[in-house]
Symmetry: C2
Subunit: 339 residues, 2 copies
Amino acid sequence: MPEHLGKQTLRLGTPVHVAAGAAVVGKKEGEGPLSDCFDTVSQDAYFGQKTWEAAETALMRSCFTAVCAKAQLAPGELHYILAGDLQNQCTASAYAVRDAGIPFLGLYNACSTMGEALGLGAVLTACGAGTVCAMVSSHFCTAERQFRMPLEYGGQRSPTAQWTVTGAGAVILRAGGAGPCITHITSGRVVDAGVKDLSNMGAAMAPAALDTLLAHFSDTGREPDYYDAVITGDLGHFGHTLLEDLARQEGLRFSRTFTDCGMLVFDKTNQDVHAGGSGAGCSASVFAGHILRCLREGSWNRVLFAPTGALMSTVTNQQGESIPAICHAVAVENEGGEI
Amino acid sequence: MPEHLGKQTLRLGTPVHVAAGAAVVGKKEGEGPLSDCFDTVSQDAYFGQKTWEAAETALMRSCFTAVCAKAQLAPGELHYILAGDLQNQCTASAYAVRDAGIPFLGLYNACSTMGEALGLGAVLTACGAGTVCAMVSSHFCTAERQFRMPLEYGGQRSPTAQWTVTGAGAVILRAGGAGPCITHITSGRVVDAGVKDLSNMGAAMAPAALDTLLAHFSDTGREPDYYDAVITGDLGHFGHTLLEDLARQEGLRFSRTFTDCGMLVFDKTNQDVHAGGSGAGCSASVFAGHILRCLREGSWNRVLFAPTGALMSTVTNQQGESIPAICHAVAVENEGGEI
């Protein structure tokens, strides 16, 4: 049975295995430093569809098929799909699972949604509710149109802007079997530092990342160097530097084990992505591709995955509101880790 | 510990009490048949704010304050807030809980979100994860602008159209204490019957309601007349009639105990709402106001609450997609009900 540690953390108390993970991405992501980690790299941004929105649905559907195949289970053996994306009304997820015939729980915590899905999925699995698929996506073209401007406008990007990842990540969580275990989840609070610049999401999200990391280390009594890697969601290069500054002010030891999915997914020098990658599919595909691979190969044994999300919409931004942010942390450990 | 019954249902196996519920609504809802059940009826559609979006945030915040007061707990005693709404990127919820300082899990399953929140909240509570607030809202004016057209256009409504409820409902779920218990949850699958008419959501959602109700009765072995009331979400008058037809075809006994939040909340004859109420706040406020009151007063002892949701967006509709729908059912029973 799960047990509370401190105010924001649950120790799961029973092994919840990440039985399999799959990541499907677009061409640009496939040209980045993590290209080897992804199951499929599509050269077609439309994924065979006629609209960007349908493309993202196809992307998710292909990721779902891949993760079921890798876990060697038929979709019908799943008890729940927890899924989310960035489209208005989270339609990529709903349409992607339309034919799956499995209970669907839609989630939205912006780019931190993979952290939310892994956390809730792990609790469901830990308390006997069965085998769960957690799946999250984003698509550069749907996100640009929705959050910024239609691609055809060719808008300029500021240096702090990030590049929304075209990608989906999915994992299967199971009570028995093999694979690294989710051992602790630290669910985030909303933190609003007053940032209003839609082109500087890293600055809006860094304070939320700090809040959740401080809670995790305080609740668990662990030190940052307990983990081989502490990986935030999509702070990007600016947000990561800001988090380092904030952490120093709070006395949190910020070492070279700290990195960020938005920094890992693209090559800053050669890919013209300014401050790095972003989007709900950024942390999801980096988790399901890169992080799980490092855990499986044993180059890492203990990882704290802490994806971040910015909870505004273009409407609230145009109305002058600041950008609230959140970060959900999940500890994933190979056998030997305390569960 | 929760236990699976059949494919879609969890028997919670431990008492999860609805310790308190609060419902805050707008003027029109306050003039309807359930006016006595709501904690607050605001005469101001703006709830003291300058925009409709900020109004919905204020509505939710006032509902959150009310439910904490009724449960006699400080917000800091909560472990999680599970919340959702219909705005793009679910911003009403995120802004409403911005200052609460409690882990926030954002949910989106359209107008069925209260069913999803009660279900996930009940599992969290049942497995020791603490005290949970489940809260959902909608606002007529944000929804019209977002899903149909700006109010200023004065668009005509078709006879099958429904009226989005301006309202929020919130409940506190707790492992101990008093209050009716959530005993079973039946999580819905996505069902798409091919309906494309945004002005006939009842038709899109009725097949999903049927799917979940059939699963619930099959999984639990219960008959419809086990319940004093079986209350779907916001099918409205057309959708309810359609559900009755579909149920007959499937041999499901459809009696006078079947009703619908969208039919209950407005007076069809005198309130000019066409096919009835809709919106995520419809089922949420009817649950937290009317249904909990009937359970508490003992006029009902066993209720199956089954809110429905339509999972499209205006973009997917404009692209020619049909409307996928979902329904999450939650059994709520006074002491004596099997847990």
